[in-house]
């Protein structure tokens, strides 16, 4: 860093983006917070009611159930995505043609929209017109077709399958980049010492890509906490409201029940939870690296 470079010049460079964020993110966020203190309705009207919405949220059983479900979903899918992503990165790291092809195919679902992908899997898992049941029966894994979306856990499994398919390529790409950034000399030294493949992964690859792993995990977890589209399309929150996620419940309140004020309150609470979780993880990361 050039010492004669002024920090304020840097700020100037960042100014356009900062202005954009201030106007189009922070200001609406402030408005959202103000709305959360009212009983504003989608159909118009609403007056200031102070913290009443927050009290209501505290007592809202469905909100907490949805939050628990969202956390459950995040805790299950994040390790799956990270482990599979890392594994696929290791698998396709070599520059040979098969590796490159695999990489491209795994990344392919990333370019599809989440809505389209969810509908595609909704069709595949449909008991009547879907092919997953047919496939499972053809390979003799199941005897009778399963009605996936009648059971909350089966429905969750179906959604997780669809999201893993769609998103694992993203993690894979980020991990490949991190792995390729490892200095080849470190690897050389380990080879000379006679280290086996798995020891090299464990003692070289993982530690040297730890920052990437942690950051990717964080971004993935935040995305999962904000999951909505996939559940909206595939399970419709069912059966019996068991697969509502936090954002889905917010959507229900804001746009179906017209309670914009209360929906805003739930949004604020959700964001606060995500923010604290992320801050915690970042702090732990800092501490772990001794910086």
């Amino acid at each position: 860093m050039n010492p004669s470079r002024s920090g304020y010049v840097g700020l100037l460079y960042a100014a356009p983006a900062l202005l954009f964020v201030a106007v189009f993110v922070l200001y609406p966020l402030a408005q959202l917070f103000v709305t959360s203190l009212t009983n504003s309705s989608l159909l118009g009207g609403g007056e200031f009611i102070g913290w009443r919405n927050y009290l209501r949220a505290y007592r809202d059983a469905t909100f907490w159930q949805a939050l628990v479900f969202t956390c459950k979903y995040t805790l299950i899918i994040t390790p799956i995505l990270m482990i599979l992503g890392y594994g696929l990165a290791l698998l396709t790291l070599s520059a040979n043609r098969l590796g490159k092809l695999t990489r491209a195919v795994v990344f392919l679902p990333v370019v599809i929209g989440l809505g389209s992908s969810s509908f595609l899997w909704f069709w595949l898992f449909d008991e009547q017109v879907g092919l997953v049941n047919k496939l499972l029966q053809d390979v003799h894994l199941i005897a009778h077709p399963i009605v996936w979306f009648v059971d909350a856990n089966l429905g969750l499994a179906a959604v997780i399958a669809s999201i893993v398919w769609k998103v694992v390529g993203f993690g894979m790409i980020l991990f490949i980049a991190a792995l390729q950034a490892i200095d080849a000399e470190v690897n050389e030294a380990a080879l000379i010492d006679g280290a086996s493949y798995w020891r090299r992964i464990l003692h070289i690859a993982l530690p040297l890509t730890s920052r990437a792993i942690l950051l990717t995990t964080l971004v993935s977890a935040i995305g999962s906490m904000l999951a909505f589209d996939q559940f909206y399309v595939m399970t419709a929150g069912g059966p019996e409201s068991q697969t509502f996620t936090s954002l889905y419940w917010i959507y229900q309140n804001s746009f179906i029940y017209f309670k914009l004020g209360y929906g805003a309150t739930l949004s604020v609470i959700l964001m606060a939870i995500i923010l604290s979780g992320s801050t915690l993880q970042l702090l732990l990361m800092r501490r772990g690296r001794g910086t």
Binding site: F122, E127, F244
Partner: protein, 417 residues
């Protein structure tokens, strides 16, 4: 100077003369109209007919069904509304109360065609004695049955079930035809499908479904339990496919179209769909029955048309609404294309003569009901509504009485908001 004045004057007169020969030089307007996706097949018939005969044109914009309410509401907040709008009639009370729609009482009351519109539509479009809209592309629920399967099961194909018990009996006989043939179907996780096709059977058997306010009793009457018990019995006896439990509407008609279902509730829209997608399927329609013979009802649904407040061409929009109630529009636009007319006097028209099933359907509008309530989404349509939770708990878990009681309490809560 004087000469150029003459020239100018002369030019002006010439221009005026030319324009009067050519016709009125008023610029033709283009109106924007929002319609629901499920009306996207029906609405163009009316709109195209209007466009072919009028200088002012209407441009349709199709909004996905479940986004229509939020789109209009945010549009009103932002001051961006269409000139005319057609939407699911069940939202009229909420929109009227919110002040989103233009009062058209005086012009409508003076219109002779308006008086002939089905009372269901007129009632729904009235708030505090003021009128805000009228029927546009109606639909109504009916019972539909597979005549081929009836014949195979030894049932008379021209005698559809007229009571709940007859539905049960007929379904049993059809189920006996084969392991992949089912007697009855309904979409077990679809709130809208069920309010459309299941609630009329409850109403026919004597029940009132939704409350207008916190003082009215929801789900009141023996009909509710009778129908839920019927469905429960058919479910435990295996007369309904297992996949019905998870169906949120995606396969509402797919099973019947494949010829594997004997009886189900559906809407008038299915008649044309079947003729197009399953031309070899011989089917019949009937009123949705109640507990005793002679009891029947229907859900009068479909879309209404209204003028949002802030419409930039409210006057032309009004002309359009008056026009669509005329004989020409109702017959050439709707009936000719197998869509129900809003006017009851046209139920038996020349286009429907060739297809008696449409006549039955049109007649169902006359015996049908439509609830006039606020918070319809809350109570019925939402994915977590008391209505669908009651059906799911009663039919699939067997908790008939508990589920009715729970739904009653929740609906009362919502209605008193």
């Amino acid at each position: 100077m004087g000469r150029s004045n003459w020239l100018r004057g002369g030019a002006l007169i010439a221009a005026l003369a030319a324009s009067s020969i050519a016709g009125p030089a008023i610029a033709a307007e283009t109106l924007t109209m929002w319609v629901r996706a499920s009306a996207a097949n029906a609405a163009p018939h009316l709109v195209d007919l209007w466009n072919s005969g009028h200088a002012d044109k209407i441009a349709l914009t199709v909004i996905p069904d479940n986004q229509m309410v939020s789109k209009l509401a945010t549009g009103v907040k932002a001051g961006e509304v269409p000139d005319v709008i057609s939407f699911d009639l069940i939202y009229m009370p909420d929109f009227m109360r919110a002040g989103f729609l233009t009062d058209i009482t005086d012009q409508m009351k003076a219109d002779p065609n308006f008086a002939k519109v089905a009372p269901a539509f007129t009632n729904l479009a009235t708030y505090k004695d003021r009128i805000y809209g009228t029927g546009f592309t109606p639909d109504v629920s009916i019972l539909i049955y597979n005549k081929d399967l009836f014949r195979k099961a030894g049932l008379d194909p021209d005698k559809p079930p007229k009571t709940l018990d007859q539905i049960h009996e007929d379904a049993k006989k059809i189920r006996a035809l084969g392991s992949d043939i089912y007697g009855f179907y309904f979409s077990g996780a679809c709130p809208g499908c069920n309010i459309f096709t299941t609630s009329p059977m409850m109403v026919a058997a004597g029940a009132k479904i939704l409350p207008r306010n916190g003082d009215e009793e929801p789900l009141d009457g023996p009909g509710v339990k009778q129908v839920l018990q019927l469905f429960r019995d058919m479910w435990t006896e295996g007369l309904i496919p297992k996949s019905a439990q998870a169906d949120n509407g995606a396969n509402f008609t797919a099973n019947f179209k494949s010829g594997k279902v004997g009886i189900q509730g559906a809407g008038g829209f299915l008649i044309s769909d079947l003729k197009k997608d399953a031309p070899n399927l011989d089917f019949g329609v009937a009123f949705l029955p109640g507990a005793k013979e002679g009891q029947a009802s229907a859900f009068v649904g479909g879309d209404v048309v209204a003028i949002p407040k802030g419409s930039k061409h409210a006057d032309i929009a009004l002309q359009f609404i008056k026009w669509e109630l005329t004989d020409e529009a109702q017959l050439e636009g709707l009936a000719k294309n197998n869509i129900l007319p809003s006017r009851v006097d046209l139920a038996d028209n020349k286009y429907f003569q060739s297809e008696p099933r449409f006549v039955t359907t049109a007649k169902a509008v006359g015996i049908g009901y439509v609830p006039w309530v606020f918070h319809f989404n809350d109570m019925v349509n939402s994915d977590s509504s008391p209505w669908i939770q009651m059906i799911e708990a009663a039919v699939f878990d067997g908790k008939v009485d508990e589920s009715i009681a729970a739904a009653k309490a929740k609906m009362k809560d919502i209605a008193s908001d």
